[in-house]
């Protein structure tokens, strides 16, 4: 049946949350605003509290989160979100704090922010951090602005950013949005950046190379030192996309690999929930020579007090109102405090163990483009499924839904045909991994015996397979009666 919408529950005159008149004298709206500026009609739903509760409770049951089950969405690090971090972030002393309240009355939150800047610096090896970016892509953009400003300040005109063809789409988009020209770098046959190919494109016009390490194939860029040298020799910088930091916490640090700017995704590596599409948080760290270009303010400590420091000489300015997604930072802070150095390292180790175990168990069913080891995630290709059974990665994904799992990322990275990108994360148990293998094996059998099952899947979801083409063709983005 149709997915319900609140508008259809609206009944003229019904009331939910309506305030009574205040205890101050009544006013006439027409005496406050110009008649010409007053609205005639407000078309919003008219429903009761119980209507609202039931409608959105119902919608929630048509959704799937990490708490619902395994969510191996590659590159998204859908690890379990500890409940204690939700609890602390919802303490009224944090949620009720106005961003412009006097700083001396906001010392709790400022202290957390200050420590977080330092924790992230220690974890990545970078020197300074800003917590202002609200998401990973926002962090990338911030990083690009910093790089741009840095070169502008130093009188260099560098117009190009190199991005490997295996990179997230946000990388080229961020570079482009910062006004750079994007040079795509073809990956080597081993799925890694080929230093030779890189050397050929790096010149004095190149501002930076954007790289994630391990890369989107789940492979560690083992030539990272050489890569850094190639760039730095030409005066270019190395940018770290932190999407995959979950593989190397406490094991290898971007700064030590030679990166100059990094962004992290607190909603991936540091376990803050993603909220169905946000809020995220994408702090950016830089080496010391870039400190003066950070967005303002950052949190500093002066005479035992935590203060917002706006004194950043060549700051790119602001990239967000106020100070970014502080509520998300609180949760990540809780996470880091509970894990500590040993816990973070163990998280990365087990994330890598889980990925390798899963790869080993399922690889015979797929084409595995890049060998048999990986870091925290890996990519397999369903090309053989397509050729042999006529089913696509999309069909495998949809059928996995019927088995109670969220599917992996599909069709990414673009360099792998019919890709399934699988990231189990460290919080999943062997039992879950084994059950996922069993499901894939069943689906593999179904693909051989009755591929139509896959093509018609899913069967057990709140809706059957949706028509994406129609959505883009007969565009309807708001409700009309």
């Amino acid at each position: 049946s149709d997915v319900p919408l609140i508008f259809e529950k609206s009944r003229k005159g019904k009331e939910g949350f309506v305030l009574t008149a205040p205890d101050v004298p009544q006013v006439e709206i027409s005496q406050v605003f110009d008649e010409d500026l007053i609205r005639c009609d407000l078309d919003l739903p008219e429903v009761s509290e119980v209507d609202v509760i039931r409608h959105y409770t119902k919608l929630s049951t048509m959704n799937f989160g990490v708490d619902s089950g395994f969510y191996p969405l590659g590159s998204c690090t859908m690890k379990y979100n500890p409940k204690i971090n939700e609890e602390i972030a919802l303490m009224p002393e944090f949620t009720q704090l106005h961003p412009y309240a006097p700083q001396e009355l906001c010392q709790g939150t400022l202290e957390v922010m200050y420590h977080m800047q330092n924790f992230l610096a220690e974890i990545t090896g970078m020197d300074y951090f800003t917590l202002q970016p609200a998401a990973g892509a926002h962090g990338e953009l911030t990083g690009m602005f910093i790089i741009k400003k840095y070169f502008e300040h130093s009188g260099q005109k560098r117009t190009k950013i190199i991005v490997p063809d295996s990179a997230h789409g946000t990388n080229p988009a961020s570079a482009s949005q910062a006004g750079f020209e994007v040079i795509s770098l073809k990956s080597g046959s081993d799925g890694l950046v080929d230093p030779k190919a890189l050397r050929e494109v790096v010149d004095e016009n190149v501002a930076a190379l954007m790289l994630t390490n391990p890369n989107t194939l789940g492979l560690f860029e083992k030539n990272i030192h050489e890569i850094a040298e190639i760039l730095h020799e030409k005066g270019a910088l190395l940018y770290y996309d932190g999407a995959n930091l979950n593989a190397v916490m406490g094991i290898a640090r971007p700064a030590d690999m030679g990166f100059d700017v990094v962004h992290l995704n607190l909603h991936k590596t540091f376990s803050t929930p993603h909220g169905g599409g946000g809020p995220g948080s994408g702090p950016v760290g830089v080496k010391a020579f870039l400190k003066d270009f950070l967005p303002k303010p950052i949190v500093a400590k002066k005479d035992d007090k935590y203060v917002l420091d706006y004194n950043i000489p060549y700051s790119i300015g602001k990239i967000h109102g106020f100070y970014g997604n502080v509520g998300v930072v609180l949760k990540a802070y809780g996470y880091i405090k509970c894990l500590g150095a040993s816990g973070l390292k163990e998280a990365s180790e087990v994330a890598v163990l889980n990925a390798n175990y899963l790869l080993k168990k399922i690889k015979d069913m797929f084409i595995v483009p890049e060998g048999n080891v990986c870091k925290h995630e890996f990519v397999v290709s369903c090309k053989n499924w397509k050729e042999n059974f006529g089913v696509r990665a999309l069909d495998v994904a949809k059928r996995l839904l019927d088995y109670g799992f969220h599917p992996p990322t599909i069709y990414f990275p673009l360099i792998v045909e019919e890709a399934l990108m699988i990231e189990p994360t460290e919080t999943e148990s062997k039992d879950t991994l084994d059950a996922f293998c069993d499901a894939l094996q069943n689906i593999y059998r179904e693909a051989q015996e009755n591929p139509d099952i896959l093509k018609s899947a899913p069967f057990s979801m709140p809706v059957k397979r949706v028509d994406e083409v129609k959505a883009a063709r007969d565009v309807k983005v708001i409700y009309k009666e």
Binding site: E15, G169, A341, D467
Partner: protein, 443 residues
Amino acid sequence: MKYISHAPYQIDEMLKELEISDVTALFSDVPDKVKLDRDLDLPLPLNEIELKREFAVLSGKNKAADYINFIGAGAYDHYVPAAVKALLSRSEFYTAYTPYQAERSQGTLAAIFEYQTMIAKLTGMDVANASVYDGASSLAEAILMACRIKKKNKVVISQTLHPEYIETAQTYAFGSGIKVVVSPYNCLYETDWDKLETLIDGETAALVVSVPNFFGVIEDVRRAQKITQKKDIMLIVAANPIALAFLKPPSEYGADIVVGEGQPLGNSLNFGGPYLGFMSAKAKYLRSMPGRIVGETIDKEGNRAFVLTLQAREQHIRREKATSNICSNEALNALAATIYLAYLGKEGLKSVAYNCIANTQYFINEAKKYQGIRIINSKVFNEVAVEVDNLEEKYQKALNAKILPGLKLDKFFPEQAGKLLVAFTEKRTKHEIDELLKILGVD
């Protein structure tokens, strides 16, 4: 605490399956050169009880959270109903990722579709996106969008916008090589329209105004309409969504893009974030919008269903040619706004706005009785600038009484020293306002 879900013996089984004796073997591809040869220097791990204890201490240091709050300036202390909070705690919502798999994400998708609809209705526009990061960045994105559409490189923005919005827009504009020209405000905290008009030239893509403006004032936006029509440029309006309960939707005075901060709609103050930026536009600009968009479609059986659509605009498809690099937005905050708007509905939103207005007007009217304070422009929604004699001293007096009396305007405008921007939500009471008046008004 650690959140590993294996029994130790299972880790052994997995290692055995991988024919290795130790997990470090899986890191053999990490060159020694970049391997960290020490432990990270972080505080020792805490258990839940210890973490709670630390947060009990930290929370005690956020004293401002308990004060009576008259600060607004872009973040408002509105009431967040219990029902909103209860629904947001549904883990199916908050622990999900972006709804890539439509069949398993109809909850998020349907809610965002509702959100888009409500934002469109509230602003009077044809279409809306699924939210961007916040009010400041939504304005910045709108400016990039207008310049894309108009294929021009300049916008003129009234200085009466939130200073941090202007700063953010300037940063984004710096990246894109766009010129942001700021047109000054006058002594009534209003846009100097004549001056502004002179700043518009052939390179200008759009004019940006806000309703109400940063100083709380409801400007005569019909002037903006006239100018943009005359100059054939686009009109971008930044609006307070609660104020729109009584104010004409920007569509009615010619807005092409409407943006704003969605925080007032069911989102807590949170020291500035997470909030959400909303963005709506005329239908013809739909494909130029940044951010996610949810569309209606049907499933295999012909039933209504929802899906992320128009993805051809987006970075994961178009890469460097995308309309924006945006990926994560603020879905959960948008969900809060959706539930808030549904729950309050037509009458509820008006009742909240009315309470804000009545409280503000009460302050304005009572202020006349005091020598020590002067209102400069009282054509405001829920916030008003006030000149206070001996402000520093009274500000401290207010803090001593556990009152946050407002924002000192010299934070952003040195020339406005001695002035205070005071906001009144529906949470404030007559008694609280009287207390404030006494502190500010009496020397």
